[in-house]
Symmetry: C2
Subunit: 287 residues, 2 copies
Amino acid sequence: MFIQRLCIIGVGLIGGSLARALRQAKAVGEIVGAGRREARLRKALELGVIDRYETALPIAVADADVVLVAVPLGAMGEVFAAIADYLPAQCVLTDVGSAKASVVSEVERVFGRAPANFVPGHPIAGTEQSGVEASFAELFQHRRVILTPLLETAAGAHDLIREMWATAGAEVVDMEVRHHDEVLAATSHLPHILAYTLVDTLARLDDRAEIFRYAAGGFRDFTRIASSDPQMWHDICLANRGPLLEMIEQFSRDLAGLAEAIGRGEGDAIMAVFQRAKHARDSLYLD
Amino acid sequence: MFIQRLCIIGVGLIGGSLARALRQAKAVGEIVGAGRREARLRKALELGVIDRYETALPIAVADADVVLVAVPLGAMGEVFAAIADYLPAQCVLTDVGSAKASVVSEVERVFGRAPANFVPGHPIAGTEQSGVEASFAELFQHRRVILTPLLETAAGAHDLIREMWATAGAEVVDMEVRHHDEVLAATSHLPHILAYTLVDTLARLDDRAEIFRYAAGGFRDFTRIASSDPQMWHDICLANRGPLLEMIEQFSRDLAGLAEAIGRGEGDAIMAVFQRAKHARDSLYLD
C-alpha cells in the first residue's frame, strides 16, 4: 500500500496522527494539508506532519490520490461542496466522522449519489486532547477503525482505505451505517453526554467550589471525557441525534427505575443492577 | 500520637490500609482484627496486617484504646449493638462509613445518645478493589478524611482520631453531618449510580457483545467505578438515599433538558452545557 499524494482536510489530532503514522511506515509520498485556519496548517508544517498546505480546497485536492476529510461533522457538507467538482477521477474520498448516516447524507446531497470512490470511515481513537500538537503516530495502534462502505462503494477504494488504516496499526472492520451509529451512540456518545451533564450539574450547585474540592479519584476518571472539545461533541449530538436520543431515553428510564428502587428501599432490585453491571464490566476488562 | 491497642472491626481495604499505615509509622502497639468471616481475618493475620483476631466482638473490643468500625453501612447498627456494653470507658469509637447521618442515627439508636468518645469519620479513599489483599499503607496519603464530630463529641476524642488519620498521611477536615452527605452524594454516590446504570443499560441491549467490543478508551475510564463492590454501594444507596435521590433528580432534569435541546437542534444550548462542563473540569484538574 502506497499513497502517492494524500490530501488531509482538517489537520487535527486524527488527521495529524494518520499523517505521522503513514509517513513513519513510508506508505505515503506527499502529504498536503488543507483547512480554513492557516495558523494551524503552518503549525502542522512546522511539526513536519505535512509537506505543504493549501487553504483553497479546490487546489488542495488537485492530483490527490486519497482525500481524507477530518473536520468536525458540522463542517463536512461544506467541505464536500467545495471539493466535489475538483476531485480527480481516480481519487478515493474518505472521512473520519464519528457518526456515519449524517456524513453519507451530506455526500449524497452534494454529489447526487455517493461516488464509487467514497469510503465512509471512523477511527475509534482519540483522547480528550485535540489539535495537531496532540497528534502522534501510534494513536491508531490496536484501535479499531470502522468502515461503513455503501452499495455504491467500489471494492478497490474500500481495499485501499482498509489498507491505509491497517498500515497505521489499526484493526479495520466493516459495519452497516445505521448499526455503526447505534453502537457508537451507546458506547461513546451517551457516556460523553452523561459526563458533560454530571460535571455541569455539579458546577451549577451553590457549593460547587466545595463540591469539586471533595471530588476524589474515581470522579476524575469518570469525568475526564467532559474535557473533550465542545464543538466536536455539539456536532456529534446533532449529527447522530436519533440513535443518541434513543439511548438517552433508555438510560433515563433505567436510572428512574433504580431511583425508584432506592426510594422504596428495594435492596434486591438495587443489588441486581449493581451485580449485573459489575459482572459485565469485569468480564469486559481486566483492570 | 500513639494508640496502645487498636481494634479494627472489618479488616478490608480501608481497615487493612489504616493498620498498615499506622504500623509503618510506629504509631500503634497491638492491632486486633475482628469480624464475622474468620477466613478473612486469618488472611489479614497471615499478611501481617493484624497481630491477632477475635470473632467475638465483645472480646475483641476489651482493652481497646480505639475501636475502628470499617464494615459496610448496612452492618454498622448490628456491630454497635454487639459492642455497646463492652467498650472500655476511655475507648474512642470511630467509623469509616461513606454516609454519616445513617451511622450517627444507628449510634444514637443503640447508645441512647451519641457517646462523647464517638467520632464519625469518612476517609475519601479507596479503589474499585476491596478486601484486605488490596490494602496498602499509602492509600490515605494526600487523600482527605472528613470527620463529622457531633455536639456530644469530646475534644480529646476528636483530636485523637484527627491525629490518627494525619499519621496515616491524610489531610483531615471537619464537616457537618448533613453537609457531608450532600457533598458525597454529588461527588461520589451519583457518579457511581450513573456508571452502574450505564453499564447495566448497555449490558441489557440485544447486541451487547458487539456493543462492548466497540467500547473504547474513554468508556473504560468512565465505567471503572462500576467494578466496585455491589454490596457496599447497595448499602450506601440506602443509607444516603435522601441526598442521593435529590442529586439523581437534579441530574435527570438536566439530562432531560439537554436531550430536549438535542431533539430541537438547539446548538447554542448544547454548546453552553459542554463549554461550562469543560471549563469546570479543566479548572479542576490539569490532566
